[in-house]
């Protein structure tokens, strides 16, 4: 990084930062589209940004920075291809294409056609290993560096670098196409892209391991990408639903942890700390997600989150509506975790025994046996029924499975409160 220099210089640097964040994905997508090579596109994108860092403080920031970067990057790519004899044939084809297209029809803003949608689908292609899709999306679309991606997934940088290389190699050698699926393929392919973004978000929201309960930066990155996707596919209701769900959950971030970093359950959260504008935005998107056809799973989950967010406190929550929404959700995507959440909602509506009966009916499902929230829910209901020894056992089972330090601390406090001698 250059030193803080004159006002003009730092303004230029801030400008480059901004362009880097906002335009990097578009730039990369446009170059991948043109040259069909992710590695080459990444290299020249970085070179163009370096060139901007060198030129803009002297020449001033160009009027259309995105177009400036694209032109610079494209020239560098052509230079490289020219030097590389093996690419000579490809270069001839590219030049012929470029002449036919003219100088690519500029989009209304900034002159860059937005080809990020194709990149979303490429990064989330089902032919790539599931664990690589999120990493590649962060790398290519969010513009994170490999060490940043590694940190996001709590993976050593060398391991992450290998995974990204492997994924890029598969894209180029197996020729996974850079393209937006046709409208008849979209229903099959879009859920994969949404899944990648939702996994990034949940990894940020409830880190699966490590010292911190939430990593807001990763959740925010997922929201930023979901906003882009929603802008690119405004008519897809599940995209709106996913963005709504993320906003409605993320709105509670400040209330989710206490001053010591410990977990605060939804019922105990200080709702004054919730982000109201974010809730309003999420609620509006939920309406959009549920209007005009049968609801999808993200839309329904967003509706459930909205009901929680709109209640003044836990008791004022519309539990009947929430149970009804879980019924809808179970019909759309049957899953034991959804059945578990529904059981908790039933307990809030009809009392702890009703909820416990439902949980006991789920106890044999192998998918819940390693799922610590199942044992937490069981323990809470047993506590409310004054079945203390059983509740302690359930908390201990949860403790064996819990991943993060705050989770574990929360459970230990619960066990301690139940086993402490003396009047409750």
């Amino acid at each position: 990084m250059p030193d803080e220099g004159t006002g003009e210089e730092s303004r230029a640097n801030a400008s480059v930062e901004h362009v880097f964040r906002e335009e990097r994905g578009r730039l990369l997508a446009a170059l991948v589209r043109r040259f069909g090579d992710l590695d080459l596109a990444e290299d020249v994108t970085s070179e163009a940004i370096e060139a901007a860092l060198a030129r803009w403080p002297i020449d001033g920031v160009p009027e259309r920075p995105g177009a400036w970067l694209l032109t610079t990057a494209r020239r560098r790519a052509v230079d490289r291809l020219r030097r590389d004899q093996a690419y000579a044939a490809r270069l001839a084809i590219l030049q012929a294409e470029a002449e036919r297209e003219g100088e690519a029809a500029p989009a209304e803003d900034g002159g860059l056609p937005d080809e990020r949608l194709a990149l979303f689908f490429t990064c989330a292609h089902p032919a790539l290993a599931a664990e690589d899709r999120g990493a590649l999306t962060l790398r290519c679309l969010a513009g994170l560096t490999t060490p940043e991606v590694a940190r996001a997934f709590l993976t050593p940088t060398a391991t992450m670098a290998q995974r990204i290389v492997r994924a890029k190699k598969k894209i180029s050698r197996a020729r996974i196409p850079f393209r937006v699926p046709a409208s008849d393929e979209l229903p099959a392919r879009l859920p994969g892209v949404l899944q990648v973004l939702y996994s990034l978000f949940t990894e940020g929201y409830v880190a699966s391991s490590g010292p911190h309960l939430q990593r807001a930066d990763l959740a925010e990155e997922a929201i930023r990408l979901a906003r882009i996707l929603h802008r690119l596919l405004p008519g897809e209701r599940e995209t709106a639903g996913l963005l709504a769900l993320m906003l409605l959950v993320h709105a509670r971030r400040a209330a989710r942890t206490g001053p010591d970093g410990a977990l605060v359950l939804l019922a105990d959260q200080d709702r004054a700390l919730w982000d109201r504008p974010m809730i309003d935005e999420g609620a509006a998107l939920t309406v959009q997600a549920l209007t005009g056809g049968p609801p999808g799973p993200y839309g329904v989950q967003a509706a459930i989150a909205a009901l929680h967010d709109e209640a003044a406190d836990a008791d004022a929550t519309d539990w009947s509506q929430i149970v009804a929404l879980y019924d809808v959700l179970l019909a759309v995507t049957p899953s034991p975790v959804i059945a578990l959440n529904r059981a908790v909602a039933v307990a809030m509506r009809d009392g702890p025994q009703a909820g416990l009966d439902l949980l006991d009916a789920l106890a044999d499902d192998p998918r819940l046996r390693r799922h610590h929230p199942f044992f937490v829910a069981r323990a809470e209901l047993l506590t409310r029924l004054d079945r203390v020894p059983e509740a302690v056992t359930a908390y201990r089972q949860a403790l064996d499975l819990a991943g993060t330090a705050p989770d574990r601390a929360h459970l230990l406090r619960k066990i301690d409160a139940l086993t402490r001698p003396g009047p409750p």
Binding site: A86, A89, A174, R175, I176, P177
Partner: protein
């Protein structure tokens, strides 16, 4: 770009045919691949009991054995080599192949291109 579709047949029934597809299905698929003009090569392999394995050790000694015998699911029944623009198109053809049904699977492998 050329892709190999390696057909891993599903569990065979008593008559030796894989579940979920008939000889007619195979003939229809074969015709589709030919008509589409993408066929480079394709063969159906004879019964696995006819397979023989050859190995040459570091001393140059040749070992010939009967086999290999595999569990039915891992049995390679045949292959196609097709020439299509990209992986999505190759996957589309693989999914249409009768061998992908009834517990079978198609492994799609791009063919290495050592030319320019």
């Amino acid at each position: 770009m050329k892709y190999l579709l390696l057909i891993h047949a599903g569990a065979a029934d008593e008559s030796g045919a894989a579940e979920g597809c008939t000889p007619d299905d195979w003939m229809a698929y074969d015709k589709q691949v030919r008509d589409a003009g993408i066929l480079v090569a394709g063969e159906s392999l004879a019964d696995l009991v006819t397979a023989t394995m050859v190995r040459v050790g570091p001393d140059g000694e040749r070992t010939v054995t009967d086999g290999p015998f595999a569990e039915t699911r891992e049995l390679i029944g045949g292959f196609y080599v097709i020439d299509v623009p990209d992986l999505d198109v190759a996957l589309e053809w693989a999914a249409r192949c009768p061998g992908s049904r009834g517990g079978g699977a198609i492994v799609v492998r791009p063919i290495a291109d050592f030319g320019a």
